[in-house]
Subunit: 549 residues, 2 copies
């Protein structure tokens, strides 16, 4: 059998090596447009700061390695220009020459390409780059090595944040511009606010709700919507990606959502014997059951292996993806799995959300750090739609656990049942993931009621009263306007200071003591609601509404 693979990175190379392990006699050729195959595209930003210190480390396998071990014919610098699905033939161009090759099976793994925003003057901007490949990186490094002092990063998604950090660590001043109202749009606003603060605390200028409208002086100046002019020695364009579908379109392969290649559950496209995997295909979002484009390395690798299995006759199906991602920004990790609150609300799912603050490991053991977790779940069934996490350490673990819980169809009722590795250096007897479950069950069983940070202002306007149960000492960190303060430990003795005809919203630092206070109040005949995430969350996302001494 003669198998041709177009694209030699995650999906394509996983397919090629698995095919060889299953089909020793097959003729397997990989055509890659660029100069490298099997390179570490997720590692590229870290080369900018020198954190990854050698270019060789970014090339995981060379064509020679792959020939030696897997007897693969891997050809970089070979661009597939056209496909003739009827003749089972492709046209390839390399080194100015073109030739044809026939195939029995063709696998497309073209990936996604950076979206280039249609900004005036962008074509003359010689210092503006996307980052997808090693040549892109080489171009960026070339510009950086020529005396670059100030960088502008347009787009504060995963790659934008990584580039902002690494450019800063390299010593540049960095301005980060994001069109959305907040950085890291895949996360919800209040969780992304922690990342924004971390960026600012590390000296990054962060501009949100603005896009670039014009490049001037060959890209040395950028104009934003509001007229702001930024100077730039190097500009990174990281405003998202789109499926690389040009070859598929030439072959009359059907595409769907935003041009993504449509495949069936066996990765078969609309053309016989042509398969597609990776960032270029439309997948099923397993939580919403809707079409989605998920540009992540993990699903791409899995799909590449699975399409090899399909071609080799093994029973394998694409079950879809949930989308799990993480980014490190200086000392902070920010991660998510499943869908965000915003996505869930747009889909009009009957959701409830809860925030829990905990430690990465036992508080009494040195160097414990705070983790904030958010859970998005069904207010009736407890089904988990998604989770997000922020913290210095251990965020990856918690989101991975929750991603596994989603794949296992666990509900919030199962989260307290999860038994984790616990010794003081690693965790707590009640892990924050367990606590998410307890908090969610309290809501579903009516033991606790809460409002979210974005609902507070309106509630107070309507006459509800904010009761802050922190200690007087803690109030020095900032206070809610017009709040009553009774420390939780004094609450039982001071209930006579409160009015049973009023409705109280209770806050503390993180939401734990306010929940205890809520329970005291409820059981004493008061109307009480917990402010989820409490002062800590509000202070992060809406500091301008609080009083600071």
């Amino acid at each position: 059998m003669k198998i041709i693979i177009v694209g030699g990175v995650a999906g394509g190379m996983s397919a090629a090596t698995r095919l060889r392990r299953l089909m020793e006699e097959a003729e397997i050729t990989v055509f890659e447009k660029g100069p490298y195959v099997s390179f570490a595209n997720c590692g590229l930003p870290y080369f900018v700061s020198g954190e990854i210190d050698s270019r060789e480390k970014l090339v995981v396998q060379t064509p020679e390695d792959l020939a030696n071990r897997f007897r693969l014919d891997v050809r970089p610098h070979h661009e597939v220009l056209d496909i003739d699905p009827v003749q089972h033939q492709i046209t390839v161009q390399s080194n100015g020459q073109s030739f044809t090759e026939t195939y029995d099976k063709l696998i497309l793994s073209p990936g996604a390409k950076p979206f280039t925003p249609p900004i005036k003057g962008i074509e003359e901007a010689k210092n503006a780059f996307s980052l997808r490949s090693i040549p892109d990186l080489d171009n960026i490094m070339h510009t950086l090595n020529e005396q670059a002092n100030h960088a502008v990063v347009i787009g504060a998604g995963f790659i934008g944040l990584e580039m902002a950090e690494n450019l800063k660590k390299r010593g540049l001043t960095v301005t980060l511009v994001e069109k959305a109202p907040h950085v890291l749009p895949p996360l919800d606003e209040e969780m992304a606010a922690f990342v924004k603060n971390e960026l600012i605390n590390n000296g990054i200028d962060v501009i949100t709700g603005q896009s670039a409208t014009e490049f001037r002086k060959e890209g040395r100046e950028l104009v934003l919507e509001d007229g702001t002019i930024l100077s730039s020695d190097v500009t990174i364009l990281s405003v998202g990606v789109q499926p690389e579908n040009s070859l598929a379109l030439k072959a009359d392969i059907k595409t769907g959502l935003r041009g993504g290649i449509l495949v069936d559950e066996h990765y078969q496209t609309s053309q016989p014997d042509i398969y597609a995997v990776g960032d270029a295909i439309v997948v099923r979002q397993q939580i919403t059951e809707e079409d989605a484009l998920i540009s992540l390395a993990s699903p791409a690798n899995r799909q590449g292996r699975q399409v090899a299995d399909v071609i080799a006759g093994l029973p394998r199906k694409n079950k879809g993806s949930i989308g799990t991602a993480i980014v490190r920004t200086f000392n902070l990790s920010a991660a998510s799995t499943g869908i965000s609150e915003r996505t869930a609300r747009l889909a009009e799912l009957p959701i409830e959300v809860v925030h829990v603050t905990g430690k990465d490991h036992a508080g009494y053991y040195p160097q414990a750090t705070e983790i904030v977790l958010k859970l998005i779940f069904d207010k009736y069934s407890g089904k988990i739609y998604g989770a997000q996490g922020i913290g210095e350490k251990g965020v990856d673990k918690r989101i991975d656990i929750l991603a596994t819980a989603i794949k296992g169809d666990l509900t919030v009722f199962d989260l307290p049942e999860l038994e984790f590795t616990y010794a003081p250096p690693f965790g707590s007897a009640k892990d924050p993931v367990n606590m998410l479950g307890y908090a969610a069950i309290n809501l579903l069983e009516g033991i606790s009621h809460h409002i979210q940070w974005h609902e507070l202002k309106e509630a107070l306007t309507k006459g509800k009263i904010l009761l802050d149960v922190r200690t007087p000492d803690e109030l020095k960190q900032g206070t809610f306007p017009n709040a009553i303060n009774i420390p939780v430990n004094e609450l039982r003795q001071r209930l006579n200071e409160l009015d049973r005809s009023q409705e109280y919203i209770v806050s503390c630092h993180s939401g734990l003591r306010s929940y205890i206070a809520e329970r005291i109040l409820k059981q004493s005949g008061f109307s009480a609601t917990n402010l989820d995430g409490a002062f800590m969350l509000y202070h992060t996302v809406r500091p301008e509404e609080l009083n600071y001494v």
Copy 2:
């Protein structure tokens, strides 16, 4: 309602605080025999080295804290001597006085007590201690502060390992004695062998397969089975725990497995209105469905909270436990969840096991370290029975993920589908957990066959041939006797050196290349079997059978 709780640590205190949140008007009293409640028993070993540097950190909450916040009547130094289940009355002793108290509901959370081995002379040994409580720790510290140079730790389970490490870090010489054939008996031998090496590399003397038979000179000398005499300035007894059931027995409460208190799924004992939780109760091992004693903080805390819910009328059931644990030994973490291979074989479950070596995060990103994972699963259905992990970093995460997978009834077929947070500092596009799934599926689908390290010797004796596919350079690390060496990259060209009438067992360093070689051989008409875990595992567990230059 008048609720009395016996035991003020994990289970008891979780019950007390949850009860208060649910039943503001209940009268809740906690009697604790010792001087402290709610202390960090898992943290005690770390005080020995000073890693936890203040004694106060070990006391998480004081009776005053608990009175102020939860209006609990918490009484340390109060030992409950007797229960009259008919009269709903207990007898309590404190400060030499005894008194009675009545209850509507009684919760027993007495915990498990260290097993004291019946060694001759142990009663005269003034320097031999178990470690369960802060007074135990105080006694140990007192002895350590009086010029102690050499310590003996008897029992190499979780606490024994932690004590050995912390005594060593304090500057003592340490001998660790374990009766079982290997350290860390909850793990299987080959996984525990990594821990043994870590102990030895850090200067601990490790003696396995030996128990102490006599204490001499008031404990200054220990005699082992084989006549070895060890001198000891301080001896730690950590040979396991047993349910603290004396009070339950006095109340005619039924007990089961090794004296554990029997409870129904609502934590109700055989006596009306008496409940029990924590290390003292018999639970259902969720994997084997058999009775088990699981002395871990996480289930104890959950059970305490659940029994409070039951008493408050909320729908809650004890679903059992799977048992997840971790221990850090110097730079190495060792963790497990579910049941071990040994336990599974004793239960005659139809198991298969697989070992996978991977990195905690992307290999091209700095400071990646090796993780070895083991999966125990059903050879027909792929059901996961248990997992074990070893490594410097990220072992807790992988075992937590696998514990979640077990709770979610995921099978090995689901493991490749799991989507984890991936960015270079946190993981890999194909996480070792995904790889466990791929490896297991290869076995179940007959794509790969393997033998285990403990089966190699017999296989070679029966005439099978070991083919080592490492590079000549790697052979310097050690070799298998009588092995043929053909590096995997040369295998296709050198197949003529092999004999199709022979049966080959293929090994490399970790088992990945040997699997590739196995596939090449199988598809070329040879009989080939992969040595699971390969040289790396064999070298760790059976170095004496290998050749070293």
